[in-house]
């Protein structure tokens, strides 16, 4: 299993989606430090609601790490993770490279598990690629006085959120032939989720019982569980994430076990 995982890591990190994800994550970490440094040095009197911008931003190494995390989790990188998952499953089914491994004496669940492990490691690597330069840059610019414990928990929660996203993408990828198809379907599903959450927010505002609870359990809310480091942790979001992870993995493994591989 270790050799299989090492082989998969070489492939996952060697793909353009993997390399792009790492490069982007690294750039965002550096960019967060540079942006906050520029903001601190700025002599422009920019105000929002009568308050100087500088007073609204946490100008510390914790602030750099948190802005890095926000930027890292905004659309592009999660999309690249979906790409990487799709390439590992739908892509390899489509180009027949997966077939060449399935004729080997390895149970299918192991083949899938190894891929998901490799993707989880890619996700962790992208988080570290943002965190390390953000912390290093932030420490050099602002010093290390601020408590970074909560934001580190945010990075950890973000990894859990990535696992949910990978599980969701894997569940789609075992039904769809083609990387682009998987990405489009996952994005559409998350847009539908966004609309549903909006409707539930309105319903909660109108006093509909349970609307808020259901909203918290939806994938979009669950995938945003990492935001809790700043706004307070929401157990319902984590319960939703656990549900998403379990359902995604159950569908992916059940389908992969029985599917015809051309």
């Amino acid at each position: 299993m270790t050799r299989m995982l090492a082989a998969e890591l070489r492939v996952v990190f060697g793909r353009r989606s993997g390399q792009a994800a790492l490069a982007l994550a690294l750039a965002l970490g550096v960019l967060a430090a540079a942006t906050l440094h520029i903001l601190r040095q700025s002599t422009v009197d920019a105000q929002v609601n009568g308050l100087p911008v500088q007073s609204m931003v946490d100008l510390s190494w914790r602030g750099v790490a948190s802005w890095g995390l926000r930027a890292r989790n905004f659309f592009a990188l999660p999309t690249l993770l979906v790409f990487a998952t799709a390439a590992s499953l739908a892509g390899e089914i489509g180009d027949h490279t997966l077939r060449e491994l399935l004729v080997r004496p390895v149970p299918r669940w192991k083949v899938l598990a190894v891929r998901l492990f490799a993707l989880a490691i890619l996700s962790a690597a992208t988080l570290l690629a943002t965190l390390v330069p953000a912390l290093a840059g932030g420490a050099a610019i602002f010093g290390t006085e601020a408590d970074i414990g909560p934001v580190l928990l945010g990075y950890l929660a973000s990894w859990a959120s990535d696992l949910g996203l990978i599980a969701l993408a894997a569940a789609v990828a075992v039904f769809v032939r083609g990387v682009a198809g998987v990405v489009v379907l996952v994005v559409l599903a998350l847009l539908a989720d966004l609309v549903a959450r909006g409707a539930l927010t309105v319903a909660a505002g109108l006093g509909v019982d349970g609307a808020e609870t259901v909203r918290a359990l939806l994938p979009g809310s669950s995938l945003a569980c990492w935001e809790g480091w700043a706004s307070g942790w929401d157990p319902a979001a984590f319960a939703g994430l656990a549900l998403l992870l379990a359902a995604g993995l159950a569908v992916a493994f059940a389908r992969f076990q029985r599917m015809d591989v051309p």
């Binding site: 050799r3 299989m4 090492a6 082989a7 070489r10 492939v11 060697g14 180009d95 027949h96 490279t97 077939r99 060449e100 491994l101 399935l102 004729v103 080997r104 004496p105 390895v106 149970p107 083949v111 029985r258 015809d260 591989v261 051309p262």
Partner: protein, 305 residues
């Protein structure tokens, strides 16, 4: 001793269409077994069922007596249709990945590269390989982990005559030197006749014949008229004489050739009759039946029914 590969009642349906219909075949250890059939006969589907790539609706597959779907693949190497690789990785890197899944030691990669004559180009990216090299790399990958049974689906598809010759020679050498049992599907009958000792013929998903090539071909001649080809100094005179003989039918043949069907007359009697009529016969050769004859006869009978 258990067979290298045995299927019993192997069946796979796609909706209303039965692609593989109760196929029961047996490949003995040491065989080079040709799995024949026209395009669309169900060969690839049957092979995918055997390798566990697609589900079977009924039937059983045993490989060296083992029925467990994962354990039975321990002794098997396979190339299904055109082998697929990560084009951006080198041939060696692709094999290393496969070796990890095959549970084969890393050194095995160099062994199979040497066996297939690819050691010199192993560091090149696969996208730079010719089709023939990819095919050989596919065979190299199948040989990882020292399998006892090699399953090859149309291994010479798309290759030029030189490439086909190289692959055939490689397979014959592997069978002889490595003691492999080879199960090879093809629709190229001449190729199979050159390479295989036993064949199974699949038509419309059903196995319509199976056995040793020699036995099947000799069975084809039984109860039928003998065909001979005559080479004479004066072919026109030879034809005129033959047409006058009882039990001889002149068959269509190429220019300058005389092909005869003998029914109730043997070749020696024909020769004597020609010589006595003043025809100088330089050769009289019985026509050997080919797999193509057998194949056309069997599939033709199926068409008729």
């Amino acid at each position: 001793m258990s067979a290298a590969l045995r299927t019993d009642g192997l069946t796979r349906r796609f909706g209303a269409r039965t692609a593989v219909d109760r196929v029961s075949l047996r490949v003995e250890e040491g065989d080079i077994y040709g799995f024949l059939g026209p395009n669309g006969a169900g060969k690839t589907t049957a092979i995918r069922c055997i390798l566990g790539l697609i589900r079977r609706d009924a039937g059983e597959v045993r490989i060296f007596g083992e029925a467990h779907p994962v354990r039975q693949r321990r002794g098997v190497g396979a190339v299904v249709e055109t082998p697929a690789f990560h084009p951006g990785l080198s041939g060696r890197a692709n094999l290393r990945r496969a070796a990890a899944y095959a549970g084969a030691p890393a050194e095995d990669v160099e062994r199979v590269l040497a066996l297939t004559g690819l050691a010199d180009r192993a560091g090149d990216r696969v996208r730079a390989y010719s089709l023939g090299m990819r095919q050989r790399l596919g065979i190299a990958r199948a040989l990882l982990g020292r399998p006892r049974l090699l399953v090859l689906d149309e291994p010479t598809n798309g290759l030029d005559p030189r490439g086909m010759h190289d692959v055939r020679r490689l397979l014959a050498r592997l069978a002889a030197e490595e003691g492999l049992t080879v199960f090879i599907s093809s629709h190229l009958l001449a190729e199979v006749q050159q390479l295989c000792n036993r064949v199974g013929i699949l038509h419309r998903g059903r196995l319509v014949a199976e056995g040793a090539v020699d036995a099947l071909l000799s069975g084809l001649g039984e109860g039928r008229a003998v065909e001979v080809e005559v080479t004479a100094r004066d072919p026109e005179r030879a034809r005129a004489v033959a047409e006058g003989l009882a039990g001889v039918t002149v068959l269509p043949a190429g220019a300058g050739r005389l092909r005869l069907r003998l029914d109730g007359l043997d070749a020696a009697e024909l020769n004597r009759a020609l010589v006595e009529a003043g025809v100088a016969v330089s050769a009289l050769v019985p026509v050997e039946h080919s797999l193509e004859d057998l194949f056309l006869r069997l599939t033709g009978a199926e068409e008729a029914s």
